[in-house]
């Protein structure tokens, strides 16, 4: 089937799956984190899943405490837009519960009569398919009266799948890239230097100011953007550079690690830590006093909860670029002209990982109010925000049809408030919007545009 052209049948998305990584690709990743491919994939998956159900509190409690109220069905965009019950938080969990049940007395005696399922190859692929349709957005965790965060279950199931030798090729490739080269795109140092030169030239041309950009040089701070900002979100990159120059922050990029995104979060915690440790090593070697995170939702989650904790232990301060921008606005260190972003109606839509457990909802709004004239809130804002539809490592062509469907929720939110421009301060969101907005604009007969937040800061900044 042609990539991204899989027919979407309402009520059944079991045929929409990512390309799977090859055993050799997984073996290479396994070696990096001290794993070994099991001889019996099926037995390993079953054994480890049962183990997690017993020893992992998130999994054990998700299975024990859920009352099947269905609140998560209304909160989950993957279910709301596809109507496949297994493409929902509680539905996905049910697939796991059936396997766990097969190990209990009732399941052993009565099998499917009590809803138990044995771990066949087909059943494991079914689990993998549906768990790789989840965006890990945590909206279900927010609405569940008991706080069951099904995205935690997704991460655990994906981890066990990965140990067993099953992972999405896209995620495995990105992880391999960053662990080899220090960025998701696999950009060599020369390409990074050229991109930064291009950004400098562009700023000089557009703003009439010569900015200083260090690369692999000692500095007070390491700027850590998602590498997508060097490739597709150049205006976001220019926003960081211009802003930091105007406020006089002595910062550097590093060719060894120029990646805030952390796809380990989508596959295996060992890789998440491996990637986080690369940041720690780079910052320590450079001798910086601070690491500044750029615009990346899931990257922020991994950074804030793992990498930053490790950095702070070593006396290196950590914060998001938005914290600095807010501070600079408050202290009058920068001058902003909202006129420069025109008369368009802007809506800021929170990225899942900023809003749900990311503690980064008010800072971007504060900035929005200073950089644009017309700012409106989307109906589902802050912790209620809809996922862009590309989170969780789903940004692949073969899942495009599904992603377009998932994207309808936030798009309709933008329409509801009459917004002409959607601001999402996250590299995955921006990539997903780039892929899906043309389809949605055509379907809804609109001309909605999108950007990051630092893009707007860049335009509004008066040098």
């Amino acid at each position: 089937m042609e990539h991204g052209k899989a027919e979407l049948v309402l009520g059944d998305t079991s045929h929409i799956k990512p390309h799977w990584a090859s055993p050799s690709q997984i073996q290479k990743l396994h070696e990096r984190v001290g794993l070994k491919l099991p001889e019996d994939q099926k037995a390993h998956f079953y054994r480890r899943l049962l183990e997690e159900a017993a020893r992992n509190r998130n999994v054990a409690m998700a299975l024990d405490v859920c009352v099947h109220c269905g609140a998560c069905l209304d909160a989950c965009h993957t279910y709301q837009t596809t109507r496949d019950i297994y493409n929902s938080p509680v539905g996905r969990a049910e697939l796991v519960r059936r396997l766990v049940k097969s190990n209990r007395m009732s399941g052993k005696l009565l099998g499917r009569l009590v809803g138990a399922e044995r771990p066949t190859d087909e059943y494991i692929e079914r689990i993998a398919t549906y768990y790789y349709q989840c965006n890990e957005c945590r909206r279900c965790g927010e609405v569940c009266p008991f706080g069951i965060d099904q995205a935690d279950l997704t991460r655990t199931v994906r981890m066990v799948l990965y140990e067993s030798g099953i992972a999405a090729k896209y995620i495995a490739t990105v992880i391999d890239n960053v662990e080899r080269t220090g960025n998701n795109l696999g950009l060599p140092p020369k390409a990074i230097a050229k991109t930064l030169e291009f950004a400098k030239d562009s700023i000089r041309e557009e703003k009439g100011i010569d900015v200083k950009v260090k690369l692999d040089e000692p500095a007070h701070a390491l700027l850590l953007p998602p590498s997508a900002d060097l490739f597709t979100n150049i205006d976001t990159l220019k926003g960081y550079i211009l802003f930091l120059n105007i406020v006089g922050v002595d910062f550097t990029f590093s060719t060894k690690m120029i990646e805030l995104a952390n796809f380990g979060l989508f596959m295996d915690e060992r890789h998440m830590k491996y990637i986080g440790d690369m940041v720690v090593k780079t910052a320590t070697e450079l001798g910086v006093k601070a690491v500044i995170a750029g615009e990346c939702g899931h990257g922020w989650r991994a950074f804030k909860n793992y990498t930053a904790v490790e950095l702070e232990k070593r006396g290196i301060a950590t914060l998001h670029i938005f914290h600095l921008v807010v501070e600079a606005i408050k202290s009058g260190a920068i001058k902003l002209d909202p006129e420069r972003n025109g008369d368009v109606v802007y809506t800021f839509q929170d990225s899942c990982n900023y809003a749900r457990g990311g503690d980064l909802t008010e800072e971007p709004r504060f900035i929005m109010r200073h950089v644009v004239k017309n700012f409106v809130e989307s109906p589902n804002n802050r912790e209620k925000t809809w996922c862009c539809g590309g989170g969780g490592g789903l940004l692949t062509d073969e899942l495009l049809r599904l992603r377009i469907e998932y994207a309808k929720k936030w798009y309709e939110d933008a329409i509801a408030v009459g917004a002409g421009h959607v601001v999402r301060a996250c590299a995955i969101c921006k990539a997903q919007l780039n892929h899906t907005i043309p389809h949605l604009n055509k379907a809804y007969n609109r001309q909605i545009t999108y950007s990051g937040l630092m893009d707007l800061v860049y335009r509004a900044l008066v040098p």
């Binding site: 020893r55 992992n56 509190r57 998130n58 999994v59 054990a60 409690m61 024990d64 405490v65 009352v67 099947h68 109220c69 269905g70 609140a71 069905l73 209304d74 909160a75 279910y79 019950i85 049910e94 965790g141 927010e142 609405v143 569940c144 009266p145 008991f146 706080g147 965060d149 935690d152 279950l153 991460r155 655990t156 007070h220 701070a221 406020v247 006089g248 922050v249 002595d250 910062f251 979060l265 601070a290 989650r301 909860n305 793992y306 930053a308 904790v309 301060a317 914060l319 998001h320 914290h323 600095l324 807010v326 501070e327 600079a328 202290s331 749900r356 457990g357 503690d359 912790e383 209620k384």
Partner: protein
């Protein structure tokens, strides 16, 4: 006092209480001993406010307001609020079975009036809540699809239990302070002979009490264990992994400025 009465209302009472307490302890121990955590930080509590008191506040807020259900359909929110508030007030009233109202200065007449009007109203609330939740479970196709036998059993058991309670309160009006209350206090104090007090009661009172004991014994093993879950859920009552400060942005901007 028949042998069946002794088995059900004597041994049965002890058995149900032991199963309830031991079962809840086993469940809690299972969760606590599951040391591995997947989550990277709570979804509900901003780290700046994180601490034991904010976690406790969040648990209490969830128990009493069901505020997270605002994003779901109205019947779920309304049904849950009506049932839970109704049942809590009714259960509070049932405390008079073990703590004689006179000991806290409530006369027998006043207690009867409270039981009839407050208890009756809360019972009606709980029953309507249950009906709404049951109708929703049957009527919403996707919720029906995810429902298990346990979900229906819990709802049906509660409906019969509360329905019987209403019938007793409004229609039969037994003198339970002289029968059920004396039985409960007596047996709990170790006097099996107190079963004689309840043995004189009619079948509906006995059925209500027997089902209540069955319900207590069932709580730890199925979905009814859910209230306990809130106190151990890593995302609500768990410990934050990354709780650091951004208050230093201002000083940092000075420190890293050339």
């Amino acid at each position: 006092m028949s042998l069946i009465d002794i088995v059900i209302f004597g041994v049965g009472l002890y058995a149900s209480l032991i199963v309830l307490i031991a079962g809840l302890a086993v469940r809690a121990a299972k969760w606590v001993s599951a040391k591995r955590l997947t989550g990277l930080y709570s979804v509900s509590i901003p780290s700046g406010h994180y601490g034991p008191s904010s976690a406790a506040k969040e648990v209490v807020k969830r128990i009493f307001t069901f505020y997270t259900l605002n994003l779901s359909d109205r019947p779920l929110l309304v049904g849950s609020l009506m049932f839970h508030w109704g049942i809590w007030i009714a259960l509070l009233g049932h405390l008079s079975m073990v703590i004689p109202p006179e000991t806290i200065g409530i006369s027998r007449e006043l207690q009867k009036a409270i039981a009839l009007y407050v208890g009756g109203t809360s019972g009606i609330l709980a029953f309507i809540g249950l009906l709404i939740l049951f109708a929703r479970r049957l009527g919403r196709r996707d919720v029906r699809a995810i429902s298990t036998a346990d979900d229906y059993f819990a709802l049906l058991l509660l409906m019969v239990l509360v329905g019987l309670g209403l019938a007793l309160t409004f229609v039969i009006k037994p003198d339970y302070m002289s029968t059920v209350s004396k039985w409960l206090r007596g047996v709990l104090a170790g006097d099996l002979g107190a079963v004689s007090y309840i043995s004189v009661e009619g079948p509906l009172v006995k059925l209500h009490v027997a089902l209540a004991m069955l319900f207590a014994a069932y709580v730890p093993w199925g979905k009814m264990v859910h209230p306990l879950g809130l106190f151990f859920m890593p995302t609500v009552a768990g410990r934050s992994i990354g709780s650091f400060m951004y208050s230093h942005a201002a000083s940092l901007i000075r420190r890293i400025t050339r």
